[in-house]
Symmetry: C2
Subunit: 329 residues, 2 copies
Amino acid sequence: MTTNNSIPNDGPVVALAGGVGGAKLAYGLYQLLGDRLTVVVNTGDDFEHWGLTICPDLDTVTYNLAGINNLEQGWGLADESYRALEQVTRYGGESWFRLGDRDLGTHLVRTQTLKSGATLTEVTFRLKTEVGIRASILPMSDQPVRTLVHTDEGVLAFQDYFVRRRCEPRLIRLEFAGIGAARPSPAVMSALNDAAAVVLCPSNPYLSLDPILHLPGMADKLRGLHAPVVAVSPIVGGLALKGPAAKIMAELGVEVSPVAVARHLTGQIRLDGFVLDQTDAASASDVAALQGVTPLVTDTIMGDHASKMRLAQNVLQFAAALAQTTAAA
Amino acid sequence: MTTNNSIPNDGPVVALAGGVGGAKLAYGLYQLLGDRLTVVVNTGDDFEHWGLTICPDLDTVTYNLAGINNLEQGWGLADESYRALEQVTRYGGESWFRLGDRDLGTHLVRTQTLKSGATLTEVTFRLKTEVGIRASILPMSDQPVRTLVHTDEGVLAFQDYFVRRRCEPRLIRLEFAGIGAARPSPAVMSALNDAAAVVLCPSNPYLSLDPILHLPGMADKLRGLHAPVVAVSPIVGGLALKGPAAKIMAELGVEVSPVAVARHLTGQIRLDGFVLDQTDAASASDVAALQGVTPLVTDTIMGDHASKMRLAQNVLQFAAALAQTTAAA
């Protein structure tokens, strides 16, 4: 009880995250937790492009925690140029995935290191260490999982759907190719064993969290933990703050609301706490009606450094309180 | 006889070339011949780096003919930046091979296109066409050949020897790995069939020309042609104008002289003409003493556009004269 009660002070925390939205909360958590934070990152978005292995969510989290992310653009590196891409375009090459020159440095090192036999976990450790990050950043798995989007225009590879087609085709269902043969990495399992709290960042629940949660053994692992599991809604006021979550939920015939996100998660894992924005305060009772879930209403909009820190602080205090309740029960 | 006599006006010409020195003469020939020129390029220097397939000699020839080469540096593209490389260096990655951002665009398109199943000949056609080159640029083979340098410090991959180690280890012998299974490409054989003249550019005879000449069937092919075969000496006044040719010849125990280059070539192919610099005018009689070889003494230093054109013009007229002699004989 003492340990759980003191999460904001000295307990290790595992955050599950996808791209931009998740990385913002991960950034806030990192400011508070430093090397006590482990971010487990979706790799379902990973793909091969121009012969390079590209891991968009891992890079977004790494660039955010290192403070070298491009704030205006929302993805990629700050102070970026696109001269390689211009040359590719000159050759009539595919240029829909806008790889920056500095960003290419990341993909080149990753590709080279993977080819030399390193695991994605090892490569990610090297990259995050070299940019000075003390927190752990872990790919969810060392085996490849590739999200395929079944749409009314056929099956699309994730980045084809997400970037090239700008999520325009109507989504029918998602497939996580390779997930049956994939496993959470040993480093992920070990971090979960030690966790005093698990935080599901406000990432797209279908595209970013499901690939992590669907890994064989992951849901059971989370269910068996004593640590509280807390999620933050990526849906605010019936809209997704970033990305196609709202559009996807509508296409799947799901109500676009925080409670629908909470319900989607409780269908897969044990969820102890669910954070929803003050805009959706009226939905808190619906969340509370879900088995075992305690709602927290707070300001979840992360526009700047201070708001990321504040939400992280609130989430950690919430988790600490839940841990105390669980221990007292 | 009419055809051969008119080489400078309307006959097709095949030039064999390696990197920088060869590309300069190829540039001069291109100015005079336009789409009548085919440049057959060494691929023994090709290598895989950062997951990319890099073909330094093909790129040097392409960049030179397109007029987008970096004149100060001698290799790579003009107006280049190194931001991807800076990022690689930041990660502690290998940075000895200085890949520019624009140059990366070439390697990315090539790698992607090769992975999609295209041959190197097809990829090279696409790249040279997109930068507006009317001449044919052909890799010597579609099968990989990799030059290995046996040195007093062990066996080194070519770029390891050439760039990373700056040709410092003492060369013992060269090995062209894969050459037994490689063949001159069909496009190369077809260009040779049509050639009114064959020009061996002033490239390193050991590193750049030998991989082409050692391809199974290539020496026989050249021997069987009616077209004159003319070479230009890369050695001037006992020195190589560019690169390690002189150092290598010394390490192989060969005299560093134009006549030694001519002798090296006549050991492999039929050579009708050999162009040596006016500095080496005294060696012309030694060249003339070689079986079947006619010497031409002229200014072979190519410092600017005009000098590249002038040497190309002299080489073509020389070849035309040799063709007439052969036909008359």
